[in-house]
């Protein structure tokens, strides 16, 4: 189990910064910028929530295995694939949270910051980001929990190779197949604990977000 736990941690170490950067950027774009095809981009970002993991996995398999250039990178059934797989179903959660967070920030406050001498980057870091921060943290907690628990997409494109691509959810599956229910239980308790912790964190952030702004 230790190897699977370690691989899951490594996956999170890669995915959390990516979720933060990609999710925040996409959420900001969708909340604050008008551009042709914005609705299409929004739908595309949300699509992984509506598709079965096996369908997502299949398309990823085709993309990574058959698309020219990408195929040559040899990503399939390797750790990079295991790290990339959970991003797809987790990213929409982060994007939605970031988008809601940025929409909740009064644009008048950003205008006020501009008239006080702030350029666009400064407006973002001093006004928009701090006011949307709790939404972003809540989104990050939920999307990380979803990434940690990914099973279907990871199995399709990274396989279930102990010590290389086997994450905790895949480990549980293997242990159940081998009728080793005790080990499966230990891993399941660990994942359940992480899930509950992330929900508690989200609730706490939601409560606090209204304290000073009320």
């Amino acid at each position: 189990m230790n190897a699977a736990f370690l691989i899951s941690l490594k996956v999170l170490a890669v995915d959390i910064p990516l979720l933060l950067i990609l999710g925040t950027s996409l959420g900001w774009l969708l909340a604050r910028r008008r551009f042709p095809g914005r609705e299409f981009v929004h739908l595309l970002v949300l699509l992984p929530i509506a598709l079965p993991p096996s369908v997502l996995g299949l398309y990823m398999l085709i993309l990574l295995g058959r698309a020219p250039l990408i195929h040559d990178l040899g990503l399939l059934f390797s750790f990079p694939a295991a790290a990339m797989a959970p991003l797809l179903p987790a990213l929409p959660i982060m994007v939605q949270a970031a988008r809601s967070g940025f929409l909740a920030v009064d644009e008048g406050l950003e205008d006020a910051a501009r008239t006080l001498g702030s350029g666009e980057l400064s407006v973002f870091y001093r006004v928009t980001f701090p006011l949307a921060r709790r939404f972003l943290l809540a989104g990050l907690a939920l999307s990380s929990a979803r990434a940690l628990g990914d099973f279907g997409v990871t199995l399709m494109i990274a396989g279930n190779m102990p010590g290389r691509t086997q994450t905790l959810p895949l480990y549980i599956f293997s242990r159940v197949e081998a009728l080793d229910l005790v080990s499966a239980h230990v891993a399941a308790v660990l994942l359940t604990f992480v899930g509950i912790a992330s929900l508690v964190l989200v609730r706490a952030l939601e409560g606090k977000s209204h304290e000073r702004l009320a």
């Binding site: 009064d106 008048g108 406050l109 205008d111 006020a112 910051a113 501009r114 008239t115 006080l116 001498g117 702030s118 350029g119 001093r126 006004v127 701090p130 006011l131 000073r212 702004l213 009320a214």
Partner: protein, 361 residues
């Protein structure tokens, strides 16, 4: 001598065409006009939060906009302070952090001086949500003035406040103007604000500055300029104020109106009543006690539909009154041209303009 602010901007927004030209010295200018006339949009164009289709803006010798010509200085580099209608104080920052926002980090001392100037020193560690309406206004003023802008724009910042508080803040604003010399352009649709604050009034109507005149001409009965005609909005009457029957009354050609008891001074005056303050009374419904003394009977001359508002012209004792009523409930009244109606005005909604108003702020 060239003007401190010389601006001419135009912008098309759907069917609405804004075409405003403003020229002022280091004084207090008031941009006065009805809602929807383009006042706030003009401020946004001046401070760089909106781009004009064409225009020319010069402030203190600097060119801020020249289009065509390709010059557009962004809001962050215009040195124009703005106090917004909703004040837009940063809710995650304390009073001190808010005022410090437009200054350099090491200028805490200067921020504290400004906080002291608006008498908020005791509260500099509080958050905006912990302040009253008047205190928030003061903080917003200090924040906008602290970087010593070349121009301060105020977008109806006192609109949510009641009489005495409003008068206090107007007085403070004038004091700050005297102390700093920073010119102010103040947007309002309250004529008292225009009279009490301004040196010069810019009348705005349907996206254009319809007239500019020194504020004295608003109350000067000898003036050849008829404010009412310039503006084409609101109800302005000449008359006389007198005390009788336990109240203060304004007598005009068409009758008498009870005024707010806080109005002092007697004699010749003008009264201004904004169209939305004239209430149409529902038939067979008891009249609100505040409205009862000022009930008038008239005949509908014309009804014009302006978006969400019905503008009704009513003839009362040979004078025409403008009344604005929300469109959604106007339909329910089922009123037609030529019909008799009853209207009334709350005493506190009647603004009295006299020479003493100017000096008495």
């Amino acid at each position: 001598m060239s003007a401190w602010l010389e601006a001419s901007v135009s912008r098309k927004l759907g069917n609405f065409k804004l075409d405003a030209a403003i020229s002022m010295q280091r004084e207090i200018g008031v941009l006065f006009g009805p809602s929807g006339s383009g006042k706030s949009q003009t401020l946004r164009l001046l401070c760089g939060l909106a781009r004009p289709d064409s225009g020319d803006v010069r402030l203190n010798g600097r060119v801020l906009v020249q289009k065509p010509g390709g010059v557009f200085v962004p809001a962050s580099r215009r040195c124009i302070g703005v106090v917004f209608q909703n004040l837009a104080l940063f809710p995650h920052m304390t009073v001190l952090e808010n005022v410090l926002y437009g200054l350099k980090k090491e200028e805490t001392g200067r921020a504290c001086e400004w906080i002291e100037k608006v008498r908020m020193s005791e509260m500099k560690q509080r958050y905006p949500s912990q302040l009253s309406g008047g205190q928030r206004q003061r903080v917003a003023l200090a924040r906008a003035l602290a970087p010593l802008p070349d121009l301060l724009l105020l977008d109806e910042p006192f609109s949510a406040l009641d009489g005495p508080l409003r008068r206090n803040l107007r007085r403070e604003l004038k004091k700050l103007h005297r102390e700093t010399g920073i010119p102010i352009l103040y947007v309002t649709h309250h004529i008292e604000d225009a009279c009490a604050l301004g040196d010069r009034v810019f009348f705005m109507k349907q996206g254009k500055i319809s007239a500019t005149l020194p504020v004295e001409d608003l109350w000067n009965p000898e003036s050849q300029i008829d404010t009412w005609q310039l503006l084409g909005w609101g109800n302005l009457f000449r008359g006389e104020i007198a005390s009788s029957e336990g109240g203060v009354w304004f007598s005009w050609g068409g009758g008498k109106l009870l005024l707010s008891p806080s109005i002092t001074g007697r004699g010749e005056a003008r009264a201004f009543i904004a169209p939305h303050h004239v209430k149409i009374l529902y038939p067979h419904v008891p009249v609100d006690s505040q409205l009862a003394p000022n009930v008038m009977h008239g005949k509908i001359v014309e009804t014009v539909h302006l978006g969400g508002v019905a503008r009704v012209l009513v003839k009362i004792n040979n004078c025409q009154w403008q009344i604005e009523h929300p469109m959604e409930s106007y339909g329910g009244l089922d009123l037609h041209e030529g019909e008799d109606i009853r209207v009334s005005i709350r005493p506190r909604c009647i603004s009295v303009l006299r020479q003493c108003e100017k000096g008495g702020v």
